[in-house]
Amino acid sequence: MGRAVNSPSKFKPGDRVTVKFEDRPGHLRTPWYIRGKSGWIERVYGQFRNPESLAFGRDGLPKKTLYLVAFNQSDVWGRTSEPKDKVLVDIYEHWLESSVGEGTSS
C-alpha cells in the first residue's frame, strides 16, 4: 500500500540520541516522560506510516523510521535503586536528535 519508501535511516544502533521536548495538538505517540531525555538507539525497526497523520484519517505518508530507543532508568527519573535497569521506547525519527555523551550505553 502507498508508495515505496526506502529513505535511509538517520541513526544506527548505538547512536546517542535525545528526544525532542515538543508539545503540540495532535496524536503524539511519544510519551511525555521521555521527551527531552537522552538514550541510545537499540534497534532500527524500519519504515512505518506516521500515526500523527493516520489518526486524522490521512495516509500517514511519508513513512517515518521507527526506532527502539533505550534509556537508563536513572537518566529518565533521576534516581533508581538498580542502575542497570532500562526503559525502552518505540520512537519515530522526527522526534529524535543526535546527541553526544548523554545517556550511557551499557
Binding site: 525497526y45 538498580e82 520512537i91
Partner: protein, 209 residues
C-alpha cells in the same frame, strides 16, 4: 438518539442505565447497520474472532520454543512466520518482537499511552494492563510492580521495561521452569500464564505429581 431501547430494529439493548459512551457506541452501531456499512452478522463474527484469541496461542509458542531450539531461533528472528508454522494468525500485528528472558535479563511490557497489546497472540488485555496505576508505575518503578506480582529479581538481574508506543507488539519469552526437563510440549504449555508473557510473573512452577 435519547431512547436507547428501541424494539423496532430487530435486537434488544441492555435494559440497565447506559453510560454516555455506551449509548454512543449503540447509536453508531445502529447507524452503521441502518446505512448498510456493516451487518449484524459482521459484528457477531468480529466478537467471536476477538474472543477466540487467547493466551493459549502465546503459551503454545513458548512451549515449542522451550523444547525446540531451532524453533526458538526462528521465533526470535521472525516471530510472524514462526506463528504461521503453528497455525497462529498473527497477520493483524504490524510488527511482532519476542523478548527473551535470561538469568541476567528480565523484560516487562507496558503501553503507557493506551493499551497496545499483542491481541492475536494473547487475546484481550487484562483490566490491570489498561489501568492508569500499571501504566504509570510500570515505567517508574518496574521492580516495585514486579514485587506486587510476586517477583523479586536480584541485584544482578537487569530489568528492561518496554513501552509499546507504536507499531511494535511485544511478547516475553520466559525462562523454562526448573525441573521440567522431561516434560512434553503440551504439559509445558500449561505452565505458561498470560502474565508471564507480559513479563510481570514467572511461569507456574513444576509441581511433581
Amino acid at each position: 438518539m435519547n431512547e436507547v431501547a428501541n424494539p423496532e430494529h430487530g435486537h434488544d439493548h441492555p435494559k440497565h442505565e447506559l453510560s454516555h459512551y455506551a449509548k454512543r457506541i449503540y447509536a453508531i452501531r445502529d447507524l452503521l447497520i441502518e446505512k448498510g456499512v456493516i451487518t449484524e452478522k459482521d459484528i457477531q463474527c468480529q466478537i467471536e474472532y476477538q474472543e477466540a484469541r487467547s493466551p493459549a496461542n502465546g503459551a503454545q509458542l513458548v512451549a515449542r520454543a522451550w523444547v525446540d531450539p531451532e524453533f526458538k531461533a526462528r521465533l526470535i528472528a521472525d516471530p510472524k512466520s514462526a506463528c504461521a508454522e503453528l497455525g497462529i494468525d498473527a497477520s493483524a500485528i504490524n510488527e511482532f518482537v519476542v523478548l527473551e528472558n535470561t538469568e541476567q535479563l528480565r523484560h516487562m511490557v507496558v503501553c503507557t499511552l493506551c493499551s497496545c497489546y499483542p491481541r492475536p497472540i494473547l487475546g484481550r488485555p487484562p483490566d490491570w494492563y489498561k489501568s492508569f496505576n500499571y501504566r504509570q508505575r510500570a515505567v517508574v518503578d518496574p521492580r516495585g510492580v514486579m514485587r506486587e506480582f510476586g517477583l523479586n529479581p536480584g541485584d544482578d538481574v537487569e530489568v528492561r521495561v518496554h513501552d509499546s508506543t507504536a507499531d511494535i507488539r511485544y511478547l516475553v519469552l520466559p525462562l523454562r521452569p526448573k525441573g521440567t526437563e522431561n516434560w512434553s510440549e503440551a504439559d509445558l504449555a500449561k505452565l505458561v500464564t498470560r502474565d508471564s508473557l507480559i513479563g510481570v510473573m514467572d511461569p507456574l512452577d513444576a509441581i511433581s505429581e
